[in-house]
Every structure is written in C-alpha cells, then in structure tokens.
Amino acid sequence: MGQFRLIAGTVFIVAGLFIFGVAVMGLFRLRYVLNRVHVAAKCDSLAIMLVCIGLMFYAGDPGSILKLLLITAFVWLANPVASHLICKIEVETNDHLEDECEVEELP
C-alpha cells in the first residue's frame, strides 16, 4: 500500500469518526426529538460517506470500491427517508408542537 493511500485513507476515516462523535454528542445534548433526528440524519450520512471513502483508499481494488459505493448510496437513500418518517410521526402526533418550535401553517 502506497504511503499516499494510507495517509489519505486514515485522514478520511478519522474525519468520519469525528463526525460520528459529533452526532453522538448531539444525540445526548439535545432534548427534543426533531433536533436529535436532525443531528443523527445529517451526521450519519456525511460520516458514512467519509468512512467509506477512507476504506476505498485502503482497499484499492475496483470490486471493493464498487461495494463501498453501493453501501454509501444505500445509506444515502435509506437514512434521510427513515429520519423523515420519524419527524413526520412526531409532527403528526404531537399536539403541542408550537411549544417546541415555530410551526408554519401548512395548506
């Protein structure tokens, strides 16, 4: 493994882990569901992408790179939708939503 690939991969993976750490901290610090879902969804998507890019540098062969790309694509498709559904349930079932955040009247 070349020196460059090792360093680049490590940098990407460490950045991804840092963002995972931010996500965990946000999950524990924030109190309200929507804020926490926001943190989890965005940080997870970005961190998964960074970790996968780092692993692509480590792996090197086209098959593994393709698999990692597929993993990233799947997470990017699935994660926002799952978060969207959680938020939707919270908004639909919370009777006192205006206590928590500004509510825009939907048509």
Binding site: F74, L77, A78, P80, V81, H84, L85, K88
Partner: protein, 369 residues
Amino acid sequence: MSLLSEDGKKTVLSFGDWVNANSPEIPPEIDYAKGGDPKGPGAHGHDDHGHEDHGHEDHGHDDHGHEEAHGHDGHGHDDAHGHDAHGEHGHEHAHFEPHEIVMPKREKKPKVKREKVQLTGVEHSYRVFAVISGILLALVLLVTVATLPRFGSADAPAVNEVSRRYLEQGLTDTGAVNAVAGIILDYRAFDTLGESVVLFTATVTVIFLLQQSKRKNGEEKTEDEVDVNTGVRSLPAKVIIGITFPFILLYGIYVVLNGHLSPGGGFSGGTILGGGLILCHMVNGERFTERFITVKRCTQIMAAGLFVYIGLKTYSILTGANGAASAIPLGTPGSIFSAGLILPLNICVGLVVACTMYALYNLFTSWRS
C-alpha cells in the same frame, strides 16, 4: 392496575366503587379513544365485534358488577401484586364495568404501573433466592467458559475425525466450495429439514392464533386499518422503496443462489428476502403487496418448498447415501451449477424462510383486538 395498586387490599375491594365514583371522569377517556375509533359512540359497537364475552357482561346489572368485584376480594392482596407484573389481567377487570359506561377496551391499560408494593416476607425471600441462584448460575457458566479450550486450538475435542473428514473430503463428497453449505445441506440435510419444518409449524400456529375472519361490510375502518391497507402516508418513503425494493430482492436472491459458493445460503438469503417484503408491506400497505403475495400464498409456497425438499432428499438418500451412484452430477466446483442438490435445497429453504418472515409480519399487523 393503577386503579388497583394504590395500596393493596383496599383498592381491590373498592373496585366497583371506583367505577361509580369516577364515572364523571369517563368522557375524557372516550376522547382519548378517538385515536383508535373516530366515532365516539361507535366505539362500543366496534368493541362488541371482537368480544362476545363483553356482551355477556353487559347484560349484568350494576350490582352484579359489584358482586364480581367482591368475589375477587377473596385473593385481594395477592391480586394487586399479580397485576403489577402482568398487564393483561387488566382486561379481566374491564368486564366488571356497569352497562351505562361505555369504555373502549383498549384504554383499560394501566397508566401508573410501577408503584411500590409492600412485599411480604415470602416474596422477599423469593427475590433473594432469585438473585443468589442467578449469581451462582453466572459463576458456573463463567468457570465453564474459562476452562474451554482456546478458539481454534488443535487439541479441542471438536477437532476429531468427523470435522477432519468434512474439511478434507467435503469438496469431493458434496461439490460445494462453501463447506458450511456442504455440511448443512448435504451431510446434515435432515437437520435442516427439521429447522424448516419448525418455521412452517410456527407460521401455521400463528395463523391459527391470529387470523381473523373477514370483516362485515359497512363497518367503520379504524385509522390503524387504513394505515395497514395503504401504508405510510409519505411520498418520499414510497419513492425510495420503489427504487430500493428490487435491489433488496435481488441481493436476497443472489445470497440464496450463491449459497454453495460463498457465505450465505437459504437462511440468510431468505431472511433478506423476507425483510424486503416486510419493508414493502410496511411502506406500501396491504393493498399493494397482496397483488403478488398473501398469507395464503405464503403457506402454499412453504408447503411446496418443504415437499420439494423432502422429495429431493429422499432421492438423494435412496441413491447416494448407500454409496450407489447418484444420477445428479456434482459439476465443477466453483461454478453456479455445481454441488448437486445443494442449489435446489437452498432455494427451498430460502423460500420457506422468506415466507415465514413475511407471513408472521402480515399476521401481526393485520390482527386487531
């Protein structure tokens, strides 16, 4: 149970009184029921549908309800404890309500479950005994684990001529590159048949327990039911499922078909297939999935898979196991059509597992009290 467990005996004794004394507070409960049944008075009719015994209790007079409550007074103290542990007992007490008060069954669940209960001496000793025996069991297990041979060591008792034979002769005997598939679907195929039959039996049992007859026409559909029929009311979820669902199925089929070449096989691939079907049902609803798979078809597929399995394995045992030549060629190891019967057996097992998963989920969602 919160109604009962304020302090043991007294509250159980006064259960009938509770119903009368709190009758002004009933309307809010009916409001709460709107989550399940949008029509307030209609809720009662909905209840009657499911519970014949409820109708029987309705005929009783008000004091009849009192009698029942006092009958329970006999085991008053114990009863309160039992209720703290078991949620479903609350439904029995729901029958004691007088006729005028219309209370949907679902709201009878305890709201403040974990009040401190006074334990008698015997119960204290039970708890102490439970803790001690648990710790002893954990110690025994830990000591056992500590004396096990190391993972993968050569002098473990598992390393004997049987496993050596499997590893050395497996490829030539079964033709499967994946040794695990060779073992579970060739050497020990009878064992796998048993596992599949267990899954089939579980599904049939759940069908017997949970399948309900069709609703009569003209009944109000609850909100829950609408959800089951049409799925999530969210466009992004439906679009994304439309994109990913074929790929999930494709991956499951790949894992099933490639079982004799790579890790995976019937159980893993079948679970992935079942998970994909469950996801589709969850998002798109019953109306969408019943076009290509229903519980009835699931049972048919499972039965067919089991019969094909039994037939193939009977043939294999009759011809191959005695050392006689089997008509099924093993093929070249590594190609997709190799390993004799393992590929069709994998398909059978995968179908059985996938249908089990989907049928269980479908029955669980469509069931309503």
